[in-house]
Symmetry: C2
């Protein structure tokens, strides 16, 4: 288990408690509450974006940064199968981010928000002695009372992902090398700088697709899949040959499999579907949504395996904020 | 108007929009939503606390910091006349804040939260390259459907504050001088490091006290009173002699009036009461809640005056994150 997850689990065990109207606290993509009398369930999630940790200012326009800060939170709401509704923003800015910067940031953020039906309703502005710190909190609401939880996977469920794995990580590596030319490179860089949260897919999977469990891929498949498995009390087998890898990265002497397994920031959805519902899902899944690919299945044995020419355990090697040494 | 308020207003004008279920967006102590079917109104507020801007690590224990980060947010919910229910925390920590630090931080925070009926339900943990950055978002709910808004003050309403003004600012000045001895000094330092949000008072004022408008004093009376006045479209007159100043600060060669008018971080409530309701408020106000003091009144003329031996305009001189030069 990653050190970050251990700390979160410790906080959960020591400090989380039941409360009226609380359906689900720490431990999923978002917390779930049911306001007294409310027709829907409400989900709430907070994510930080920090300069030099999560982004570099030289690589992003303020609009892109605004987009990305909201996108990573919308992705959590999408993984719950909910509709984003409202958000607040805590923005700590160094002295050289002035009015123009702030307005462009909010332009990028609110443009993404509106496309998904979410409105900016508040927040806090502060000076930062060094570096930009962003904190976004999104409130989403369920459609009906259904949700996609990390914990609802069962042995035998088939595993799917949306989109392409390792594309954003390739984009980051290209940015680090200062290279952005060519259509594939631009696509990879764009995937890193302006991720598209899978809101419509999350809603469809929850309402129509009969998905059981879901999580969004923020830290990479090898880190996020174990989180879904732990919450569901299951293991998993991933078929290496089935992974929808970003193969263009091989052109730049990167390993598409390595990036696809361990690269972060794709913000694709990983979800489980009971075997009896998989055929219908594959038949009915709308053609205008990002493609989904079956990549493996959940198992009763609590181990995460990668099957291919050989079979080996899949160790988490995604980004860990709290890893002892880096 | 403070530069920070100008930027917030610009964001509000350009990027805020009406949305279903949104009752009140940017511009008050908290935003207000009414989830479909919900019995109550829900309020949401986000506040940042930043090392070297809002606190110094050498002065606070992790518990005190956890307490304070939540307290400043609960204070916003109190100023809306609501009950805090849930909160999420974004915590960016430098490498030297380890497990023990994190657990103590949450101990301080959750102890305060529980006293006021609010539970920790989620958040995000991240490494920070330098300095601690805290972002807390609190969800509160109304009692019935009544709220205290900044905008509901009317000319003639009487103005009151809770507690003592300038005590936290005196505490901060003492900390800067490295002095904490004596009961009064300890009280002042405590007011700065562990502010007590006026949750019970806010609820009482909203339910029983027939207060019209309210705001919490985070940046100082001279900065926060104009915010209430602008929102209500009124002016105000403050009686210098009536202010509940922290007179002990004179012992340390500070000016109690200066601190009481412009000192920040008191997190007391400033509220308005229609003249017809003031007598009953003063008679019925519970003795076990922090004392309230009448300090002036709202006026039709949109000017903020300080009346005493002479009458002069009261200029905002509280902390402004975005002041052009500091």
């Amino acid at each position: 288990m990653m050190e970050e997850d251990r700390v979160v689990r410790l906080i959960q065990r020591r400090f989380a408690a039941a409360a009226p109207m609380l359906r689900l606290g720490i431990g999923d993509d978002a917390a779930v509450i049911r306001p007294r009398g409310a027709a829907e369930l409400w989900t709430i999630t907070t994510d930080l974006l920090i300069e030099e940790v999560d982004f570099r200012r030289a690589w992003s326009t303020p609009e892109q940064l605004g987009h990305r800060a909201l996108a990573v939170n919308l992705s959590d709401i999408a993984a719950m199968g909910c509709r984003p509704r409202f958000y607040t923003v805590g923005l700590a800015l160094p002295r050289d981010c002035k009015r123009g910067w702030i307005l462009q940031f909010y332009r990028g953020m609110t443009a993404l928000g509106r496309r998904h039906g979410a409105e900016l309703i508040g927040g806090d502005l502060s000076r930062s002695p060094r570096g930009i710190y962003l904190s976004v909190t999104v409130l989403g609401c369920s459609v009906g009372r259904k949700l996609l939880l990390r914990s609802a996977g069962r042995p035998g469920d088939l595993l799917y992902v949306t989109g392409t794995l390792g594309q954003a990580a390739a984009g980051l590596a290209l940015l680090e090398r200062g290279r952005r030319r060519g259509a594939a490179a631009r696509r990879a860089v764009e995937a890193h700088l302006r991720p598209e949260p899978r809101c419509e897919t999350g809603l469809w999977l929850c309402r129509r697709g009969r998905a059981s469990a879901a999580i969004d891929l923020s830290d990479g498949l090898s880190s996020d899949l174990p989180r879904l498995c732990r919450a569901s009390g299951v293991g998993a087998e991933i078929e290496e040959a089935a992974l929808p890898l970003f193969r263009a990265s091989a052109r730049w002497r990167m390993d598409p499999l390595e990036l696809g397994l361990h690269g972060g920031d794709d913000y694709e959805l990983l979800f489980a579907v009971p075997p009896g519902a998989a055929g219908r899902l594959e038949r009915d899944y709308p053609a205008d949504l990002p493609p989904v690919t079956r990549i493996g299945r959940l198992t009763a044995r609590r181990q995460i395996l990668l099957t291919g020419a050989a079979t080996s355990p899949l160790e988490p090697r995604g980004y860990d904020h709290f890893a002892p040494r880096r």
